[in-house]
Every structure is written in structure tokens, then in C-alpha cells.
């Protein structure tokens, strides 16, 4: 069995038995939803419907309703696309990369982080589709035999690579997530008493029985899916960065883009996970499973990737000067001191300075501070994409066509609407799906649960814990 050092904080606090884990996770599914859930769901739904309305107006009228112009043909839409894809990177990173590195703390957060990933990629996919204007010909991006002289899509184009990358990423994440969900749906199915939920969860559980052979396959499939999803995570945002890096626009034409985008994506994704998780653990009473140790680990990831992003910003500046290319140099001077200086400095403050505060241990272990920083980081990462995209375009080679980008109210409506829809999906997930990977959390209960860990002998010794080095957040060690 996996053993963990005695001085490590336990991953599961309190005296939990296997049954307690099931109870804690299923409670929110089986009980009535709290009033707060309905309030939040209502707000998210209204915002989401407003967004759908804006999209309908856009499709009916044309993309002229956006704030784009002749010089700036890409702005708010692709900013939002990259922002959402970036947020969608944390889930698979947590469940795949951390699985390969055998990081047990991922088990408390991977399920909901993956759900977040999938919903974020849904939102991301919306933007290129509606940017086509004619949504119904979206399937033209696929290499389907046709009657236009058998005209194929352009496989040399990074935009097509994106189509393949995003669709692979979305579908593989979905499968990975669902395969993990099947045994947990079986748990809910076996507990369900009312006929309709029983039927519903029976369908969802696919008749899972938990035989030894099933689990044998389950573990291998999880491992192999993690193995293929790991390079996939890195490839997806690399390919997103190729959309820019393979162009010849000063400020975009940079070889540093792929690693810099991937680090940025992980950075913003973890920030979003923190935002959601800190609220969820409180609202759903999961404090024993997602606690300061998990938050601290995620903050360390945020700190590391934030530092990579910071170094990348500085490298970009240095290389633009060192290249000796006048246009490249101007693009960066213009970013920092031109009309969009406020966006550039917001990005710098939010993304470079704020994660450095995580070096201070009490700060990275403070839940309130983490929550604030997680929102700051996501604002910063939105500005990063806006800065890269708009400031590189708005002053092109021809000063007579220099202009500014101002978002229209439809731009705003669509963006805010996707945030609303994202929360609609996430709230539905939190209400009806097991938000913790039940079967995985149970496997670490004995090696990292507070009541088993450091007990004289394992077994059913519910009160056998004691004598481990005391840590400051063990206040709820008797909340059985």
C-alpha cells in the first residue's frame, strides 16, 4: 500500500470512514438544493440567456455588430476564445499530469476541475463558431467530401490545427471525465430511493458492478488516458498560440509563444479552479476533503506558472529590442506606453506581481487571500490576451489606418453571457453529479486520512489517531 510520511498533513481531515465519504459527497445530490443554489442558478441563467440573445442578434445581423473594424479584424472574440481555452487547461492538467506524477491531492479536486474544463472549452468553442457569422456552415471546417470541386480544408493552416486540437481536447476530456464518473454514478444509483433518480443514475452508471476485472481495466484505462492527455494538454495551447505565432504581425511573430501560452493557460486555469473550489467546499460542506493543503499546492502551481509567464513577458521585451527590428520594437513600446498602456500595466500587475506574493507562506495558506488573487489572476490573463491581440493589430504598418478598438454592447453581452452559461453548467454539475471522485478518494483514505494515518495499525480503528505533528488547520479534526 502507498505510504505517506508521518509529518505530512493528511489529505482527508477528521475521522472519516468509507461510508462517511459516500455520505458527504452524496448528501448534496440527495438533499434538496439550498436556496442559495436557486438564487445563483437564476442569476447565471438570466445572464446566460442574455448572452444567447446577443448571439442570436449577432447571427441575424452579421458580425458587424461587434466592435471590429478594418484594421482590427480580431479582438474581443478571439480574446475570449483564448481566455476560455486557457481556463480549460487546468482540469486535464490536474487529472492527467498529476496522475502521472502520482500526486494524491489531485483526487479531491480533479472531478470538478475537469467539469470546469469541459464547460470552459464549450464556451471557448462558441467564439470561433459565431465568428464564422454563418454558424450553420460550421461543419465546413471538417475535411468532408464535397461538391466544390472536392475542395479540402487547408491542412497547412494553424486555424485548422486548432479545429482538430480543440475538438480532440474536448472529446478526450469528456471521455476521461465520464469514465471516472461511471463508478460514482453506480454509488449514487445503489443509494437512490426515489424511482426517477434511480432510473436516471442507472442509465448514467452504465450497469457498473465494480468487479475486480472492471477495476483492473479501469486503472489501466485511467493511466493510458492520462498518458495521452498529458501531451494533448500541452499541444492544445501550443496550437492556439500558433494562430498568432505563425503570422507576420509584430508582437505575434514570436517563437516563445507556445511555452508562454501553455504556462499562462495553466496559470489561469488553476486560478479559476481556486475561485470555484473555495466557494464549493464551503457551500457543499467538503472542508474535510479540500482544505488548506490542497489550496497551498495549487497556489504553488500558480506561483510557478505565474513566474514563467513573468519571465516570458520580460523575454519578449528583451528580444524585441535585441532583434533590431524597428516594427517589433515599436509594437512593444506601443504596448507599454501607447493608448492601451492601462491594459498592459493591468496585465503586468495582475500576472507578474500578484503571484509572487505566494512566496509568503501565510499568504498562500490564507483562503481569503487566495480567493482574491485567483480573481485578480483571471482578470490579468484576460488582459494578457487583449493586449497581445489588440495592441499588435491596432497600429499596423500603415499609420493612416491606425485606429482603436472599442467593444460594442454585443461584444460585452456575448462575453458576459458565456460566463453566465458556464456557471449554469457548473451549478447543474454541482447539483446532480458527484463533485468528488468518490472511488479515488476512498483509495487514499487509509494512507492519507487523518484517522488512519499514523494510527498504530491500520484496520477499523476509528479512534486510533493521535501523536502526529500538530498543524494549524486541524481545527475540524473532530467533526465526525
Amino acid at each position: 500500500m502507498h505510504k505517506e510520511a508521518a509529518i505530512r498533513e493528511p489529505l482527508i481531515l477528521g475521522h472519516k470512514s468509507y461510508h462517511d465519504v459516500t455520505e458527504d459527497v452524496c448528501r448534496s445530490i440527495e438533499d434538496k438544493a439550498p436556496r442559495m443554489w436557486y438564487i445563483l442558478f437564476g442569476i447565471a441563467l438570466i445572464i446566460g440567456i442574455y448572452g444567447v440573445g446577443c448571439i442570436a442578434y449577432l447571427l441575424g445581423t452579421g458580425i458587424g455588430v461587434w466592435g471590429l473594424n478594418k484594421t482590427i479584424g480580431w479582438a474581443w472574440d478571439i480574446t475570449n476564445f483564448v481566455w476560455w481555452v486557457g481556463i480549460g487547461h487546468a482540469g486535464t492538467l490536474i487529472s492527467a499530469v498529476l496522475l502521472l506524477f502520482r500526486q494524491k491531492w489531485r483526487m479531491a479536486i480533479n472531478r470538478s476541475a475537469e467539469a470546469m474544463t469541459i464547460f470552459a472549452v464549450f464556451m471557448a468553442g462558441t467564439f470561433p463558431l459565431i465568428h464564422m457569422g454563418r454558424l450553420w456552415v460550421g461543419y465546413w471546417t471538417m475535411p468532408i467530401p464535397n461538391q466544390f470541386g472536392s475542395l479540402w480544408v487547408n491542412f497547412n493552416s494553424p486555424l485548422l490545427w486548432d479545429v482538430f486540437a480543440i475538438s480532440t481536447y474536448l472529446s478526450v476530456s469528456l471521455v476521461f471525465w465520464y469514465i471516472g464518473l461511471i463508478p460514482d454514478f453506480a454509488t449514487i444509483r445503489d443509494r437512490a430511493k426515489r424511482p426517477i433518480p434511480k432510473r436516471m443514475y442507472s442509465m448514467l452508471a452504465f450497469g457498473w458492478s465494480g468487479r475486480a476485472k472492471n477495476w483492473n481495466r479501469f486503472e489501466l484505462v485511467s493511466l493510458v488516458l492520462a498518458g495521452v492527455a498529458t501531451p494533448l494538454v500541452f499541444s492544445v495551447h501550443s496550437i492556439v498560440s500558433f494562430d498568432f505565432a505563425t503570422s507576420v504581425i509584430p508582437g505575434w511573430h514570436t517563437t516563445i509563444f507556445p511555452p508562454y501560452f501553455v504556462a499562462g493557460a495553466v496559470f489561469s486555469g488553476f486560478a479559476m479552479v481556486q475561485t470555484l473550489m473555495l466557494v464549493m467546499r464551503k457551500a457543499m460542506g467538503l472542508e474535510a476533503y479540500i482544505h488548506v493543503r490542497h489550496v497551498e499546492y495549487m497556489n504553488i502551481v500558480i506561483m510557478v506558472t505565474g513566474s514563467i509567464v513573468g519571465v516570458a513577458y520580460l523575454t519578449e521585451l528583451f528580444v524585441s529590442w535585441y532583434s533590431g527590428v524597428e516594427y517589433e520594437q515599436y509594437a512593444f513600446i506601443n504596448r507599454a506606453t501607447g493608448p492601451y498602456w492601462w491594459a498592459y500595466w493591468s496585465m503586468m500587475t495582475c500576472n507578474v506581481i500578484s503571484p509572487q506574493l505566494m512566496w509568503i507562506r501565510p499568504l498562500r495558506r490564507s483562503l481569503v487571500f487566495t480567493f482574491i488573487i485567483s480573481i485578480v489572476v483571471n482578470i490579468g490573463m484576460w488582459f494578457e490576451r487583449y493586449v497581445i491581440i489588440v495592441t499588435s493589430l491596432h497600429r499596423d504598418y500603415l499609420p493612416s489606418s491606425w485606429t482603436m478598438h472599442f467593444p460594442s454592447h454585443i461584444d460585452l453581452g456575448v462575453y458576459v453571457g458565456t460566463i453566465g452559461l458556464f456557471f449554469v453548467f457548473f451549478l447543474l454539475f454541482a447539483r446532480f453529479f458527484p463533485v468528488l471522485a468518490l472511488n479515488e478518494v476512498k483509495t487514499i483514505l487509509k494512507s492519507s486520512g487523518e484517522s488512519y494515518k499514523n494510527a498504530p495499525s491500520h484496520g477499523h480503528d476509528d479512534h486510533g489517531h493521535s501523536s502526529h505533528g500538530h498543524v494549524e488547520d486541524n481545527t475540524n479534526s473532530n467533526n465526525q
Binding site: W161, T168, I182, N216, A229, K442, G459
Partner: protein
Amino acid sequence: MAEKVIYAMYDDDDVLKDGAKLLVAKGVKVSDVFSPFPIHGIDPIIGVKQTRLGIVAFLFAITGTLLATYGMRFFMIEDWPMNIGGKPNGTYLDNMLAFVPITFEFTVMCAAHGMAITYLLRNKTLPGMPAQNPDPRTSDDKFVIELKHSENSQFTEEELLSMLKQTGIIEIDQKEIN
């Protein structure tokens, strides 16, 4: 054909593992174990072979690589060769670098979905399938060993039951299954 089986229930995975070891040492064939999560180390004890799904994934991956390579060669070189700024595009190799990302993505897509579908089919877990665990608690916190009479014909029923009772079971049940 109806078959008599014994279900012995445990409330701890380690107790079950020790029990299974004891039974197997006495020559009992344990036909299956039902558990709410994977019990590490149970497979060699009860003789469950390591799954070959990894090989399946590899085969699907190669299929994906070949399909993507062949497809892009056909689309871009054979059927409608593109001339972009006069850059060489007459052969697959000249253009190959541009095809790497999609070849990779398609490989991953085929490997992941091919393996996942095979996994669901082999486990017989598909929408609408009935659950087969003997007790609803085996997906919560209970662990069950399944013994079949037909596979343990050298022992009488009493012998099997008494051997099971020495292994720390909490409940025992006999059923006829088809």
C-alpha cells in the same frame, strides 16, 4: 443455467485481501471480488490477469497516425495540391512538418476513443445495462467475495462456509444466478 454462488461480505479491503489469500492457499477458487474502489494487490491473489487494453490503445493510436498521414497526403498532395507562395509542396515529405500537429491530435483522438469504447464493451458497461453487484452496499463501503460451487466442487458447502467464516466476514449470502 442456474448456478449456486456464495457471497461473503467484508467491511475492510485489507481484511478481504488477507481472507482471499487464505482461501486461495487452501485451494478455493475465488471467482470474483466486488468493491467500491480498486483494491490494490487483489488481482494476482484471485488470478485476474492484467488487462490488454494498453495494447488496444496502441493499435488504435497507430491506426490514427496512419489514417491522418494517408488522409493529409491525399487531400493536400494528391487531390488538390496547394501552391502557397511557390513553396515546395510536391511531395508529402516537403510538407510533412505542417502535418505534424494534426497527425498527433488525430493519433490521440483515435487512441483515447478507441480504447474507451473497447473498455466499455469489454466491461459490458453500456447505457441501460443492469447492475450486477450482489449488494447495493458494494458501491459504498462493503467488499464482497464471490465463490461458485461449480468451481469449488472438491469442497462441500459446509466446508466453504466454515473456511469463509474464519476470514473476518461480516455477512454471508447464497444465491442462485443465471
